[in-house]
């Protein structure tokens, strides 16, 4: 076991992938000399040179578009968007190009690129640097979507993303970079597309991903002290979505809550709640409840920012009331 941070694990995944596969290149703003705005690509330029670790101008649409072209012609690009909030600027290249090329061209070619980015609240970074925009990606057929919550997954999901045949959007959480854990990266990882059941309990299933996993686990600890046992499912990838695992546990437990940091309306939690309701209706004691971000932009004020997204106390409170 080695202790490492989420950031270290991401960096190691890039390092190992680049060592193994000379076609892997990185491109993005400040990924080279600066080492990444959040330090993920630190010193990789020293290891692999400026030809493979490419500092780009501030030109997001062209960064993503160049990755598309590189991926179509034999490279494995990892493009980086410094903040997921900039994804809108690149949505043509991502949504109209990367996502549709395989399909439009009748299956002739795929776009095996990874778009690494980070999102979420926690730094008083304001309305344009704190969003959780995974629903936009999930709403675009053709794009895969990975959102690691743990140090192990930061490593394994990134390695696995770099072996996928199709474009993967890989969204890290800005509040997790300094999270530490003892990990054994040589242990066999869960396969790509499989959810992880992080805790087993008979009273309620909490389905979540990314940072909210940690709040859900904390809430589950608090609930346990009150005699309520929660199952906590970490989705790890939202596309592919491991609905089999969700179904199995929801059917066994009969009660489910979905937790997401993204805004409530038309969000990931809405999609999950709809599917669970459709597929597990006869097993459910109660309607599936969504706990998600408020339907508002994120403020720079730390008070308003924290109030805008779910936390452990809210999850505990809602789960407690559902089970009662």
């Amino acid at each position: 076991m080695t202790e490492m941070t989420y950031r270290d694990a991401l960096r190691k995944a890039l390092y190992d992938a680049m060592t193994e596969d000379p076609s892997v290149i990185l491109l993005g703003e400040e990924v080279g000399r600066y080492g990444g705005a959040y330090g993920v690509t630190k010193d990789l330029i020293k290891e692999f040179g400026a030809e493979r670790v490419i500092d780009t101008p501030i030109s997001e649409p062209a960064i993503v578009g160049a990755a598309v072209g590189a991926a179509m012609t034999g490279l494995r690009p990892v493009a980086e968007l410094m903040y997921v909030d900039f994804i809108g600027m690149t949505m043509d290249q991502l949504g109209n190009q990367a996502a549709k090329i395989r399909y439009m061209f009748g299956g002739q070619i795929g776009v095996p690129m990874v778009l690494r980015t980070q999102g979420g609240t926690g730094r008083s970074a304001g309305a344009q640097h704190s969003q959780s925009l995974e629903a936009l990606v999930m709403h675009t057929p053709g794009l895969r979507l990975a959102m690691p919550a743990t140090v192990e997954d930061a490593y394994h999901l990134l390695r696995q993303s770099l072996r996928r045949p199709d474009p993967v959007v890989f969204i890290e959480h800005k509040a997790l970079y300094t999270m530490k854990a003892d990990v054994d990266l040589d242990a066999e990882p869960l396969p790509w597309g499989k959810a992880a059941v992080r805790r087993h309990g008979k009273d309620i299933v909490i389905v979540t991903y990314s940072r909210q996993l940690h709040y859900a686990l904390k809430a589950a600890d608090q609930l346990a002290k009150r005699g309520i046992e929660a199952t906590v499912i970490d989705l790890r990838t939202l596309n592919p979505l491991d609905f089999d695992t969700i179904r199995e546990h929801v059917q066994a437990v009969g009660r489910c809550m979905v937790v997401s940091e993204g805004v409530l309306t038309s969000g990931v939690a809405a999609e999950l709640a709809a599917r669970i309701t459709e597929e597990c209706f006869d097993y459910l004691e109660d309607p599936v409840v969504r706990v998600a971000g408020e339907d508002i932009p994120i403020s720079v004020s730390a008070t308003l920012e924290a109030g805008s997204v779910p936390n452990a106390n809210l999850i505990e409170n809602v789960a407690g009331r559902m089970v009662a």
């Binding site: 409530l264 309607p287 932009p297 308003l304």
Partner: protein
Amino acid sequence: MTSPATNSQLYDFYAGMRRVRTFEERVGELFVRGHSAGSMLHLSIGEESAAIGVCSAMKPQDTFTTHHRGHGIFLARGAEPARMMAEIGGKEAGYCHGKGGSMHIADMSLGHLGANAIVGGGIPAVVGAGLSAKIKKTGGVSVAFFGDGAMQQGILYESMNMAALWDLPVLFVCINNQYGMGTRIDQATRNTNLHERALAFGLEGRSVDGIDVEVVAEAARELMDQARAGRPGFLAVSCYRFYGHARKDKSPYRDPAEEEAGRLRDPVAHARAQLVSAGVVPEAQLDTLDAEIAAEMDATIDFTVAQSEPPLASMFRDVYAPEEPEPEPLRTRLDRVLARE
């Protein structure tokens, strides 16, 4: 200001630039003392001549947008420093009630259409504001302030093309502090003669050295006059970012010798030396002025620290117009949903 007034334009420019610098230093202090909302604070120290020089050519009916390093520009257009500082502290008393912060400060009453945290994000709005000024015949010019990093955003070129095509009263001002985060301008583009791009679109284009605020002001006056007459322009002001990109950045990617030389390109020190050597004002008078400004800016911190956080319920305000219903809070919805069971 209690200092005796002089008839010198340079004295006024100096005072304006000193206010900007001192304000920015206090922003740094607010951060160190733990009262800022976050650390994404971008100081314009070293760039004061761009704000003061260009804004000296602006009129009350003019509008503008800024990038994320826009404190100085806003001050130059008449912002109240205490309300600015309170916004940077995320306080209710700030210009945007703690929702915007340093990177999203604005005051419509001063023509400030908003600072932006998206590089290039504020640029196209001046095309629309120029269109408004033209159609409504306000006589106003709309000015976009942005950094050298935004020179590589495609939206600038779409915007310059439209402004030229439609003969709009618009000025694009690039504050070229040589760096976009850790990337030096010559690492981001082959042609660093930035104004040449504007010429290619049929705009008036100039590049000036920001060391001399009077040179900046003169170029801005000429370009603003032309813009007001429907000939849009572009001005690049060359300067040096004295400190890190944001508060936590120590600029390890910069050569210390380069930094030292860069910090000699100091428009405030330059103006001060000119005032003294030309005998416009005795040095002691400038010292008095500096002390007054320091006291004014110190007070902004005290003000900010004493202010309250925005009330939690205010987070639902201003998503939509005040006459519209606010979004339903999650907890209200949950109470209803859970009660039904």
